[in-house]
Structure formats: structure tokens, C-alpha cells
Amino acid sequence: MSDIILRTEGLTKHYGGVHALVDADFELRQGEHVAIMGDNGAGKSTFVRQITGVERRTSGKVWFDGREVDFPGPLHAREAGIEAVFQNLALADDLDVPSNLFLGREKILFNLGPFSILDRKAMRQATEAALKRTAVKIPNLGNTIRHMSGGQRQCVAIARAATFASKLIIMDEPTAALGVQETAQVENIVRTLKDNGESLILISHNMRQVFDLVDRIIVFRRGRIVANLRKEETDGQDVVAYITGAKSQNLAAAAL
């Protein structure tokens, strides 16, 4: 089916003796917003790292945008059209905000290959615009990221993922460190993405947020997908039951 943007089959990752991800079968339709929930250490971030090529999977298959893929690195995933906000944020501590926002995609004044001249003014202006959408307050964009507060860092990472067009956006706990206002703003950004028809995978521990934003909820438990729930057919209690293992669907988890 051509409207399936991402599909995994039997995706598995072992770290030595730790079975962090086991036999994950997953599907995401074009324009769909899906949440992944689960306990700490359930394997959510591991799942994201396998899809985006940050790590090499132990076994299993991934299809993206109609082709079977095995990205050797995040660069390739991004080129294929996957933007991600990783849990560890992936920011360069010694660079300032505009440099981080445009990291790897700098605006160029003259093209001279690797020695191209940067368009610093354009990047600064674009940065201010992008950050305004997140409502974050940053007193001096020229300060290095090292000196930003936890939430300021996170907003920079989100602004980065949201600024560039892509086929799939993955956000790993994007609002964990954000304040009330900023969280609301980021949720607005996600809604805009929905309106624009972009697909999204959102990892979050915030039940309200998940029910506000997504179409479908996937629950991970002990490295396995134990539930695949349409938002309309479930509620918070139900999801918690799956997370804690009180309930279990007839998925691969049956093997547990």
C-alpha cells in the first residue's frame, strides 16, 4: 500500500545480553500521528535509534516511503526525509543557537564546496523566527548552547526539526523539560504538522498530551509492542493497564 510511510517487521535490537527491542512490527500511514508510550527502559528510544540509523539493528526489516531501507547513519535517514528530535537532543554545546539550528544545513552565500561562505545574517533571522513559534525565551542567541537552560535547549532542538520540510518527524519526549507555556506552543506546532499532512511519531509519558495530539497509541513493554490502540477506542486507564502489564493484546506479546 502506497500510503504506508513507515513499516517495520521483526525489528530487534540486543545490547549484549539486554534485549532492548524484540520483534517490533509497526506501521505508520501517511499523515498519521502516532504516540509511543511505555515504562522507562521499555525500548522506545531504542526503536527510534534503529529506524533513524543511529544504531545498526540486530535483525528485522524496515520500509520507508515505499522502499526497504537500512540507513548506515542518521545522515542518510535525514536525506531520505526523516527528521528527529532525539532524547539526548544532539546539540553542539560550544556553538550558538543559530549554528545549532542550521547544523548540517547551513545557509550559504557563495558556494565553494566545503569552503562555502556562510550567510550568518540570514541564519540568525531565520532562527529568531523559528524560535518564536516555540514561545521560548532566550536572552542572547549568541551565547553557546552549553549555557542554556534545559528547556531552552529542548526548544532549539524542536525548532530545528520543525523548520525543515520532511516526510516523517520523530520526537522523543520533546516536552519533558518544557514549561507550561512552551509545552502548549510545541503542541500547537504538532497540530500544524497534522494540518500540513506530515507524519509524526511522538514518544511521551504525558497521557493528556498524547490523547490531545495523536490518532493512535502504541504501547511498549519490556522491549515488545504490547498494544496498538486507536485513540477513540481507549482511555487513559486502559493505556496504563497495558503499560504496567495488567492487560495485554494478542500481538507478538502473546509469546511473553
Partner: protein
């Protein structure tokens, strides 16, 4: 008082308290050291360090001393420029000095004259092959190729096998030193052609050093190349996740460092009219020290060429100042160690006072 020009979200930012450039510390250290020598000179010898005191010359400054101060660090300075960009991008290069030795030997053997004082050149390596009196471009290109090769090997090892730069370049250091000795079985090579001798004549080393310094200052500040050096040095994982081709960039960085070591080798052998297998030993340590004194952080991501140039000048002033004070050679080394440490202590201390650290 409160401006918000540089921020978003309308927060208080007192622009007047913007941090002064870090290089200022190094400049202050430089001035302090010069002043110390000037004062000591006047107190102990009744002579001036910087000003002219000879009757037969009528300049205000002691020109000869000003020149030698920068001339004697130009060659290591060229290496230090290359090492600065390596360190900024999170690496280290211990091989530079040995690459200088190997490159000098190989390049010089293509820069030989056919006859010395009417006799066939006794030191010419390729006399039999007739490769003598070649145009200066030949040894220059050969030299640059050697440096490039060494740099490419360093870079590829570091980028693709992921071994620590310290080890990759340590290996290259040992290997290149072997190559330098092997090339002529340890024999030095002398008697280069006139044009080759011109590369390092007079103040040419200074000119080349400063030109390269300006070029690389601009490159690091205003180009993609520079931005990526800082990004990779600051957080390699983040740079990779942001889609920078970290591996390719690293190869480029080390290749450029190799090229600069080759330039240093050409200037050095031309200036001395000879090439020796032992040339350049330990230059890398001096070069690294210059960079660090200039504020380049060994953990990557921070530093500038301006700082490194100032660091090099500190070295030059120290060397000339010691000779000026007629300090015993033993004490020179002891004090030099202390000054290296002192310059960096000053820098760290001023940074902390300004509250940017700890």
C-alpha cells in the same frame, strides 16, 4: 542599560557586559612577558629588549630582534595553524614534526643543484638519474604531495577505523620518522637550487606564516568548513546526527594539517639550505603548546587562529628574551616550562573570574 537585540522572547540582556574576546587574555600575557623582559633588561643589563640601543643603527626599535622574534616561530607557527584546526575539530596531531622531517628529506632531494663549486654535487640523491636543477615547482609539489598523503592516512584512519587521533598520529609519527631516516639512510641533503632557496630566504617564512594565518582565520570564521570543525569538536555525535558527514570532514581536516606540515617542511629546509632526518622533532609539542596558550581547548570546539598566532609570539618573545638576558641554557628550559604553564594559568584564571567557567 537593558537591550534585547540578541535574544528572543523579550528577556533582559545587558549588552554592555558582553564578554570580551578570549584572545584578549593571551594578548595581555604577551604584553606582560614583553614588559617583564624590558624591565629585567634595563635593571640587570642596562639594555633595552625592544628598543634599539646600538649607535651604528638608527631605528627606534631593535629591528633585528623584532624580526627574529617572529621569524623563529614562523615555521612551527605554520604547523600550529594546522594543528589548531585539528584540535578545534576534536582531534590531535602528534605526527606533524615527523612529517616535516620526512617531507623535507624527500622534497629536498628533488631540489638539488648539479654542481657545487664546479664539482658534481656530493649530496645529490638523484644525481645518476639526472634529476638535478629541476624547476622549483617539482620539489614543492613533491613536498605537498608527501604532506597530503600523510594527512590523508591520518584522517582516514581516524575517520574510518575510529581509533583515537592520539594513536593514529603517534603511529604516523613513528612511521614518518622511519621514512625520513630511510630515504637517504640518514645522510643529510644539502645544496638546493637558487629558486628553492628563495622559499625560506629572509622574512619569507614570516610572510608565509602570516598569510596562512589570515587565510585560515577567515576559513574558520566564515566558511562551512570552519563551522563544521567547531561543530564536530563540540559534539561529534550531535554533528553526525545533524547530518554532517563527520568522516569526510575529518579526512579533510587532517589532510589540510598534513599540507601545512609540508609547507613548514619546505620553508624549513629552504631556510636552512639542508634537509635532515631529525628535522622537526618535537615541533608538534611546541605547536600544540602555542595553540593551547592561545586559548584553543584540547577537548575541542573552542579556539581561534588569532589566539594561536599570539601563542606563537609568546614563544618567540620567550626565546629571544632569554638570549637577551644571557640566561644560562639550563635555566632557560626550566623557566620556559614555567612560562608555558603560567600563560595558561593566567588564561584560565581570567576566564573563571569572568564567570564563564565553573
Amino acid at each position: 542599560m537593558a537591550q534585547t537585540t540578541f535574544g528572543v522572547g523579550g528577556l533582559t540582556y545587558d549588552h554592555s557586559k558582553r564578554q570580551l574576546p578570549q584572545e584578549l587574555n593571551v594578548l595581555i600575557a604577551l604584553v606582560l612577558i614583553v614588559a617583564a623582559f624590558e624591565l629585567l633588561g634595563r635593571a640587570l643589563l642596562g639594555d633595552s629588549f625592544l628598543l634599539n640601543t646600538r649607535d651604528n643603527v638608527d631605528t627606534f626599535f631593535n629591528q633585528a630582534r623584532l624580526q627574529i622574534i617572529i621569524l623563529q616561530v614562523s615555521i612551527v607557527g605554520i604547523i600550529a595553524i594546522g594543528i589548531t584546526q585539528v584540535i578545534i575539530s576534536g582531534g590531535i596531531d602528534l605526527s606533524a614534526g615527523s612529517v616535516v622531517g620526512a617531507t623535507a628529506m624527500i622534497a629536498m632531494s628533488f631540489a638539488q643543484v648539479a654542481t657545487v663549486n664546479g664539482n658534481p654535487n656530493p649530496k645529490a640523491v638523484f644525481l645518476e638519474q639526472g634529476w638535478v636543477d629541476l624547476p622549483v615547482l617539482v620539489p614543492v609539489l613533491v613536498g605537498l604531495a608527501c604532506g597530503l598523503l600523510a594527512g590523508l592516512i591520518n584522517g582516514s584512519l581516524i575517520a574510518y577505523t575510529k581509533i583515537p587521533p592520539f594513536i593514529a598520529t603517534l603511529g604516523m609519527m613513528v612511521t614518518a620518522r622511519g621514512v625520513a631516516k630511510w630515504w637517504t639512510k640518514g645522510e643529510p641533503i644539502s645544496f638546493p637550487t637558487e629558486p628553492f632557496a628563495g622559499i625560506g630566504k629572509g622574512l619569507m617564512p614570516v610572510v608565509i606564516f602570516l598569510a596562512l594565518a589570515i587565510l585560515f582565520h577567515l576559513m574558520l570564521k566564515f566558511t562551512l568548513y570552519g563551522k563544521r570543525c567547531y561543530a564536530i569538536g563540540s559534539n561529534e555525535e550531535a554533528a553526525r546526527m545533524s547530518g554532517i558527514n563527520v568522516e569526510r570532514h575529518k579526512v579533510l581536516v587532517y589532510a589540510i594539517a598534513g599540507l601545512l606540515a609540508a609547507v613548514a617542511a619546505l620553508v624549513l629546509s629552504s631556510k636552512n639550505l639542508t634537509a635532515q632526518a631529525g628535522m622537526g622533532v618535537m615541533y608538534e609539542l611546541d605547536a600544540i603548546a602555542m595553540a593551547v596558550i592561545g586559548g584553543v581547548s584540547l577537548s575541542g570546539g573552542r579556539g581561534s587562529i588569532v589566539g594561536t598566532v599570539l601563542g606563537a609570539l609568546i614563544f618567540g618573545v620567550i626565546i629571544s628574551g632569554f638570549t637577551f638576558l644571557k640566561l644560562d641554557a639550563y635555566y632557560q628550559e626550566m623557566v620556559k616550562g614555567a612560562i608555558i604553564v603560567g600563560a595558561v594559568v593566567l588564561d584560565v584564571w581570567r576566564q573563571r573570574r569572568r564567570g564563564t567557567r565553573g
